[in-house]
């Protein structure tokens, strides 16, 4: 692996990106209690650096897909914040016209092809997007985000094989946060087999890195993305990270007892936002004042988007049957 130091401008953008996802989701957590965002919502808090580190490489027209836990990917790829919040509020101005909710985000204008909550289902869809670009004679990178559990689904293997066979410009990004809902990895795969090993089995370029370290993510993703763009075939990347809150919903879930004692605390101590802010400060890439400005700007952006979402109209009853078939 080449030496891949994150350029300072990218680092600042990434810090902003991580902070932005964090502040947006923290705001959603708070607002969720008002019971006006009424859809199952999976928070990315604790895992932001993966989305941001990978998407820092992507051009607007390059494509991504995601799954149930998609806020960070949507935002990092540049998805419209107003459309996302309005979608969570079930409004007509939502990115899916209120018909999707948190589990079905989309923003085609920035290459966010779509997210759905059936585990694994967007993997072949992303591969198909990449295939179509090749068939069209204009290969376009597609990044496919999913969790550790998706690697247990058969469709992951089927898709990886097809991507490898046709050397498609696909980078699969696995956010290994140790859990599938409340089930630890130990009840889902043999202890001594790493997730990334599956990709080795398929003979696909692969790597593992610390998903809470934005620079590490950026470096590994960069390598895979360059290969894929250069027509050298797909890659599979595993980033270890950790979810702080409930599987689904805005609350703490320590009372459930499925996390070993100290685990959450240890991961919180490695908060990707604090880690990265600290590092950039230390290297003089950002100052405390810069950070304060970032926070303020983001907060203002959120205020505006929330106001937009709240003020937006609901879809009208006649919209129930529209969009059943495309014209």
């Amino acid at each position: 692996m080449k030496n891949r130091q994150t350029p300072p401008d990218v680092a600042r953008r990434m810090l902003h990106g991580i902070m932005r996802v964090r502040l947006i989701e923290e705001r959603i957590r708070k607002l969720y209690a008002e019971q006006e965002m009424r859809c199952p919502t999976h928070f990315s808090i604790g895992q932001e650096a993966v989305a941001v580190g990978v998407c820092a490489h992507l051009k607007r027209e390059e494509l991504i897909t995601s799954a149930h836990r998609s806020h960070a990917h949507y935002l990092a790829k540049g998805g419209d914040l107003k459309g996302m919040l309005a979608e969570l509020y079930g409004k007509a101005t939502g990115c899916a016209a209120g018909k999707g909710g948190s589990m079905h985000l989309i923003d085609r204008s920035v290459g966010f092809l779509g997210a759905v909550p059936i585990v694994g289902s967007t993997i072949p869809i992303g591969v198909g997007a990449a295939l179509s670009s090749v068939l069209q004679g204009n290969p376009l990178l597609t990044v496919i985000f999913f969790g550790d559990a998706a690697t247990e689904a058969g469709v992951f293997h089927e898709s990886l094989n097809i991507a490898a066979l046709h050397k498609l410009p696909v980078v699969m990004v696995c956010e290994n946060n140790l859990y599938s809902v409340l089930s630890p990895l130990s009840v889902r795969k043999p202890e001594d087999r790493e997730i990334v090993q599956l990709a080795q089995g398929h003979g696909v370029f692969n790597g593992q890195a610390d998903g809470n370290d934005a620079d590490a993510v950026y470096a590994l993703a960069g390598e895979a993305i360059e290969r894929a763009r250069a027509g050298q075939g797909p890659a599979f990347l595993e980033f270890k990270t950790y979810r702080w809150y409930e599987h689904c919903g805005p609350l703490e879930d320590q009372h459930l007892g499925y996390r070993p004692p100290g685990e959450l605390e240890a991961w919180k101590a490695r908060d990707p936002l604090k880690l990265y802010a600290g590092r950039l400060r230390q290297h003089g890439i950002v100052s405390d004042a810069d950070i304060a400005v970032m926070e303020k700007t983001i907060d203002a952006e959120i205020d505006e988007a929330v106001a937009f979402a709240k003020a937006s109209p609901f879809p009208t009853r006649d919209q129930l049957a529209t969009h059943l078939y495309a014209p």
Binding site: C39, A96, G98, G101, R188, L256
Partner: protein, 356 residues
Amino acid sequence: MSATASTRQLKFVQALNEALDLCMTKDPRVFIIGLGAPDPAAIFASTKGLVEKYGPTRVLDMPVAENAITGVALGAALRGMRPVMTHIRLEFAMLTIDQIVNQAAKWHYMFGGQASVPLVIRMVVGRGWGQGAQHSQSLQSWFAHVPGLKVVMPATPHDAKGLLISAIEDNNPVVFIEHRWLYGIHGPVPEGVYRVPLGQPNVLRQGRHVTVVATSYMTLEAVRAADELAQEGIELEIVDVRTLNPFDETLVLESVRKTGKLIVADTGWRSVGFAAEVVARVTERCFGDLKAPPVRLTLPDVPTPTTRALSNYYYPLVHDITAAARRLAGRPAKPAPEIKPEAFLDVPDPSFTGPF
């Protein structure tokens, strides 16, 4: 059949849990397999306490590999085990259709009766709080179309327990579909093992004027409609289908012969759904007795929207039943309640948690 009258009240989910517990105690071949079955959330508490009592080899968690899990359960069933698979949402079973429909449903037949598949596949149908297109499908009609499967949808806590015990004791693949909005409903549930036989609908309410054939949660809505109409002198006869495959139409035909009027209320989509089957059987067999065109109350042929501003108009309401019944009974229409887009119809009506 049902044990002696019981005054003990249990919630639907507790009744399911008790059925599983009793079956696991009395038969060591019974085991539970499925994503999250032993986790602290315990499939909305339906498998609560079982892993503590029976250990992790009888309540097996699994990777996200539903298709293989179904095959694994089928293979275990072939060797005499009695697996109970769980899907916290019916949609996840869509990944397993090969194993359910191509394999399990046909195994006994295509091998000339040499092997049987005592397999229960529990599927929870989601509703509300923006479950949306992929967490709320009620696809009983699919499974009811497939010979070799049994398809059960309990509507009451009593039946939830009695039918689940029968399903587990049955030597065939049983698709056991549970509506999430029934979980909190309570009603009388006898202690100990009792069975509600598969394949027998139940006349839940007797009445002279209109027959309502209902499945799952729609049975509950039918009861509410019946209560309302009773005050107007209209008597609904409610037939709770309970088993959709094989579907025994006898009680339905008897009822329609008496009332001459039919409403079918199903939780699924309209076209090519179970409601059509009920209409077809009644028309074929009670042609001369029908006094008015039958009425189907179902979901419209549209995916589930997430926003409540649309889902408020998606699900049939009690008023739809009462309105149809008044029309069939020749009574004047009453104005429909106004439903605001922002109304909170995406959670179960707190005024109606039972008793059933």
